[in-house]
C-alpha cells in the first residue's frame, strides 16, 4: 500500500524547469531513497512534499489524501542546509521547534529528555547552541526532526558532518523508527548508505524521474548481462573463443589462473557463452557481477544524458 504518492508533479522557475511530470510511490513503512545528481530537482521535490512550495501542476498525496489538507505535524523534515538559532539555549530551542510542530509543552519536554539521553546530549539543555560542536548540533537537529513522532520522515543528507560512530548511532535510530512504522524518504549522495538502508529508490535527473523500483529489482536489471569468470587456461584462447558473443571488460591473471569480467552481447545467453569457451579452459568459478548503487547511479545518469544529447 502506498503511503505517499507523487503524481505528475511539475515545477518551473523563471528560466528553468525544476521538475517535469515526476511520479513515484513510497510504500508504507519503507525507506525510500531519493537520488539524483546535484541540481536534478530533489530539493524542489522535497520542498513540495513538505508544503514549503507548491507544484505548478500535479499532486502529492499522503495516505490517499491531498497533501495540502494534511497537517505538517505528520512530517518530520531534516533539510540538507540546516541551522539553529545560535543565541538560544539548547533546550529552549528544541522545545520551541517541537511546539511549532504542534506538541504540547509537557509532552515535548518528556520526549526531548528521552532523546537527549539516547543521543548523549544530556547536560546540554541549558547551554547556548553556539557552544555545541558541529556533530552535536546535527544531533540536536535530528532530535527536533523526529521528536514529534512523525509518520513520514524526510532526511536530506542526514549523515553529513557525523563521525563513523555517530553515523552508526543515527542510522540505528532511523532503522528503529522505521521498524516502529515510520516511513522514511532518504536523500543522499552517499550510495553506500543507500545500499545499506533503502528498500526502494527513485533516481531523478534533469528534472525527470529516470529510474524507480526496489533495490533488488534495479540491481537485477543492471546485472542481467555482466559475468565474472575465473579459470585455468590460456587467456588468448579464451578471448578467441568468446569474442563473437561477448565483450571483455577487464582481465587479470596470476600464474595460470585468470579472472575476467565480460558482458554478454544482445541475445547471447550464459549457456551459449559457456558452450563456446568451455572447450578451451578449465572453469573455476562463474558469478554475476552485482553492480554497486554507485555504478548504477553513474550508468543510469550517463545513459540518460547521452540519449538527451542525441
Amino acid at each position: 500500500m502506498s503511503f505517499l504518492s507523487v503524481n505528475q508533479v511539475s515545477k518551473q522557475y523563471d528560466d528553468h524547469i525544476a521538475l517535469s511530470e515526476v511520479s513515484f510511490e513510497v510504500p508504507r513503512k519503507s525507506i525510500f531513497g531519493l537520488l539524483g545528481p546535484n541540481g536534478a530537482g530533489k530539493t524542489s521535490l522535497i520542498r513540495i512534499i513538505n508544503r514549503i512550495t507548491a507544484p505548478d501542476s500535479g499532486m502529492v498525496s499522503l495516505k490517499g489524501k491531498d497533501l495540502s489538507l494534511t497537517d505538517t505535524s505528520l512530517i518530520g523534515y531534516l533539510p540538507e542546509e540546516r541551522g539553529l538559532y545560535k543565541k538560544m539555549k539548547v533546550g529552549e530551542q528544541a522545545l520551541y521547534l517541537s511546539m511549532l510542530k504542534g506538541m504540547d509543552k509537557h509532552d515535548a519536554i518528556v520526549e526531548l529528555r528521552k532523546w537527549f539521553e539516547k543521543l548523549n546530549l544530556e547536560g546540554w539543555w541549558n547551554k547556548p547552541v553556539e557552544d555545541l560542536s558541529k556533530g552535536m548540533a546535527q544531533k540536536l537537529q535530528f532530535i527536533v526532526t523526529v521528536v514529534h513522532r512523525p509518520k513520514l520522515l524526510i532526511l536530506d543528507e542526514p549523515f553529513s558532518g557525523f563521525d563513523p560512530i555517530n553515523t552508526r548511532l543515527i542510522k540505528e535510530e532511523i532503522l528503529k523508527l522505521n521498524r516502529k512504522g515510520t516511513t522514511v524518504i532518504f536523500s543522499t549522495h552517499n550510495m553506500e548508505s543507500v545500499e545499506e538502508i533503502c528498500d526502494r529508490i527513485a533516481l531523478i535527473n534533469k528534472s525527470k524521474k529516470i529510474l524507480e523500483g526496489s533495490l533488488g529489482e534495479i540491481k537485477q536489471n543492471f546485472t542481467a548481462n555482466k559475468i565474472r569468470l575465473q579459470f585455468k587456461g590460456n587467456m588468448i584462447a579464451f578471448t578467441n573463443a568468446m569474442w563473437t558473443g561477448c565483450e571483455l571488460l577487464s582481465s587479470s591473471g596470476e600464474k595460470n589462473i585468470n579472472t575476467v569480467e565480460i558482458k554478454l552481447r544482445g541475445e547471447v545467453t550464459k549457456q551459449q557463452m559457456l558452450q563456446a569457451v568451455l572447450p578451451h579452459i578449465e572453469l573455476i568459478s562463474m558469478n554475476d557481477v552485482v553492480p554497486s548503487m554507485n555504478d548504477i547511479f553513474i550508468e543510469a545518469v550517463d545513459q540518460y544524458n547521452q540519449q538527451g544529447n542525441e
Binding site: I52, T72, I75, R82, Y85, K86, Y96
Partner: protein, 443 residues
C-alpha cells in the same frame, strides 16, 4: 494562531533577555533625563559669572542694569582711561563704557571685554540702554515723571489660545506643544528605524542560519514573518513604557532636588537686592524661575496626555508595522546585511524626508505641507505626531489613521509574497525586477 503566538513569544523573550536590551533600557532614560536636566542644572550652577564695570559718563544709567544670576553690574566712579588701564588687575570681565555724548550719538557706547559675553547679556544691555534713552527723551519732550512712565508700561506675556470649530477655547502653550510634538516625532522615527532594522536582521539571521527551512516546514512563511514583526513590536512597546516610567522617576527626583536649590539661589538674590536702595514701587522685570515652573506645570495640565499617548502608540505601531513589513521583505531578499544597501535606500528616503519636514511642520502645523504629509501613510506617523499637540481636527486624524491601517495591510501582504520566495533563495544577487516577479508567483 497558536503557532504565531509561539513565534511572537520567542521573538519577544529572546530580545528582552538580551544584555543590549537591558543596557539600552537603563541608558535611554538616563540620556533623556540628562537632556532635560543638564541645561537646567547648568543654568542654575553657572559659576561663569560676568562682572561688568559700568563707566557711565552721563550718570543716567545708575542702577538701571539689574544683576542677574550670571551677570553683575558694578557702577564705577573712575574715568574710562583709568578703568582700562587697571582692567587686567581687577576681576571685572568687561567694561561698559557709556560716553558723555551718548544721548546725541548712542553709537559711541563700547563694551570692552576679557571674555566674550553671551548674546543674552548683550541683548539685555542693548535693550536697557535703549529703554533708558527712549524714556528720557520722552520725559524731556513731554515733561512727565519717571514713575508715571513706568506706570504706563504694561507687563506683557501673550497667552496663545487655539480656537476650534466647536467654539471651545483651548489655551495652548506653543513652545510646549513644539517640544512635545517634536520629541514624539523623534521617538517614532528612532523606534521605526531601530526596530525595523531588528526585523530585517532577524530575517537575515534565519536565512543565513538556514534554520528557516526547518521552521517553514512547520509554519507558513507569512505566519513566521508576522510573528517576528509583532514580537519585535512588543519589544519596542516594552522598551518605550520602561523608558517613560524610568525617565519620569529620574526627572521627578531631579526636579525636586533642583527646585530646592533654585529656591536657595533666589533667597540669596533677594538678600542682595535688599542692600540696594531701590524705588519700592518698581515692578519686577522678567519672570522668576518659580513662576516659570508653576506656569509650565499649569500648561502641562492643559496638554491632553491620554490622547497624546494613544496617538503615539497608534502611530508608532502603525508606522512600525508598515516599515517593519518592508524591512522583513528586504531581509528575505538578501544573503547578508552588506547587500541591503540598494533596497534600504527607497525605504529610508521617506523616513528621513518626514524627519526633515517635521521642522517646517512645527513652524506651520496647519499648512498644506503639514496636512498632506500627515495624510500620506509613509510620512504620517512622524508628521501627524508633530501636529497633534497643536490640535488637529479629528476627521484628519481619522483619515490619516485609516489610510495608515489600509497601507500597512497592503504592505504586509506584499511583503509576505516577497518574503516567502526570498527566504528560500540562497547565494543569488537579487534585483528589483526579480522581486517584482516574486510578487506574482503562484503560491
Amino acid at each position: 494562531m497558536n503557532k504565531i503566538r509561539l513565534i511572537i513569544s520567542r521573538e519577544y523573550l529572546s530580545r528582552i533577555r538580551k544584555r543590549s536590551f537591558i543596557i539600552m533600557t537603563i541608558l535611554g532614560p538616563l540620556l533623556m533625563a540628562a537632556i532635560m536636566i543638564v541645561p537646567v542644572w547648568l543654568s542654575l550652577r553657572d559659576v561663569d559669572v560676568q562682572i561688568i564695570q559700568v563707566v557711565d559718563e552721563t550718570y543716567a544709567f545708575y542702577q538701571e542694569f539689574e544683576d542677574k544670576s550670571t551677570t553683575m553690574f558694578d557702577y564705577s566712579e573712575e574715568g574710562i582711561i583709568k578703568a582700562k588701564a587697571e582692567f587686567f588687575n581687577t576681576n571685572y570681565t568687561a567694561i561698559l563704557y557709556i560716553p558723555r555724548n551718548t544721548y546725541s550719538s548712542p553709537g559711541a557706547i563700547r563694551l570692552f571685554h576679557k571674555k566674550q559675553p553671551s548674546q543674552r547679556t548683550l541683548n539685555y544691555i542693548n535693550n536697557t540702554i535703549g529703554n533708558v534713552i527712549e524714556r528720557d527723551r520722552i520725559r524731556i519732550k513731554y515733561d512727565v515723571k519717571i514713575s508715571e512712565l513706568k506706570a504706563l508700561k504694561p507687563e506683557i506675556d501673550v497667552l496663545t489660545i487655539s480656537l476650534d470649530e466647536s467654539g471651545v477655547e483651548e489655551e495652548s502653550f506653543a513652545m510646549l506643544n513644539m517640544i512635545i510634538g517634536f520629541s514624539g516625532a523623534i521617538l517614532i522615527y528612532v523606534f521605526i528605524f531601530l526596530y525595523g532594522v531588528q526585523v530585517m536582521r532577524g530575517v537575515i539571521e534565519e536565512k543565513t542560519n538556514r534554520i528557516i527551512e526547518v521552521i517553514i516546514s512547520s509554519v507558513k512563511p507569512f505566519q513566521l514573518m508576522l510573528g517576528k514583526i509583532l514580537g519585535i513590536a512588543l519589544v519596542g512597546l516594552t522598551q518605550f513604557l520602561l523608558w517613560v516610567m524610568l525617565t519620569s522617576v529620574i526627572v521627578g527626583t531631579a526636579q525636586a532636588f533642583l527646585t530646592d536649590s533654585s529656591k536657595k539661589i533666589m533667597t540669596e538674590q533677594q538678600r542682595m537686592e535688599a542692600f540696594i536702595p531701590e524705588d519700592a514701587d518698581q515692578a519686577p522685570v522678567g519672570r522668576d524661575p518659580e513662576n516659570i515652573m508653576a506656569e509650565l506645570n499649569q500648561n502641562l495640565e492643559l496638554v491632553n496626555f491620554p490622547l497624546l499617548f494613544f496617538c503615539f502608540v497608534f502611530y508608532f505601531l502603525g508606522g512600525y508595522l508598515l516599515y517593519g513589513a518592508l524591512f522583513a521583505a528586504i531581509g528575505s531578499a538578501v544573503d547578508s546585511e552588506a547587500d541591503t544597501q540598494q533596497f534600504m535606500f527607497p525605504i529610508t528616503v521617506p523616513l528621513i524626508l518626514a524627519f526633515v519636514l517635521a521642522q517646517s511642520v512645527i513652524a506651520n502645523p496647519d499648512g498644506a505641507l503639514a496636512f498632506w504629509f500627515s495624510i500620506i501613510p509613509l510620512t504620517s506617523p512622524i508628521i501627524m505626531m508633530v501636529r497633534i499637540p497643536f490640535g488637529v481636527h479629528y476627521t484628519e486624524v481619522l483619515l490619516s489613521m485609516g489610510l495608515l491601517i489600509a497601507t500597512f495591510i497592503a504592505f504586509t501582504w506584499m511583503a509576505g509574497r516577497i518574503y516567502r520566495t526570498g527566504i528560500l533563495m540562497y547565494g543569488k544577487k537579487t534585483s528589483y525586477r526579480e522581486i517584482w516577479k516574486w510578487l506574482f508567483y503562484r503560491e
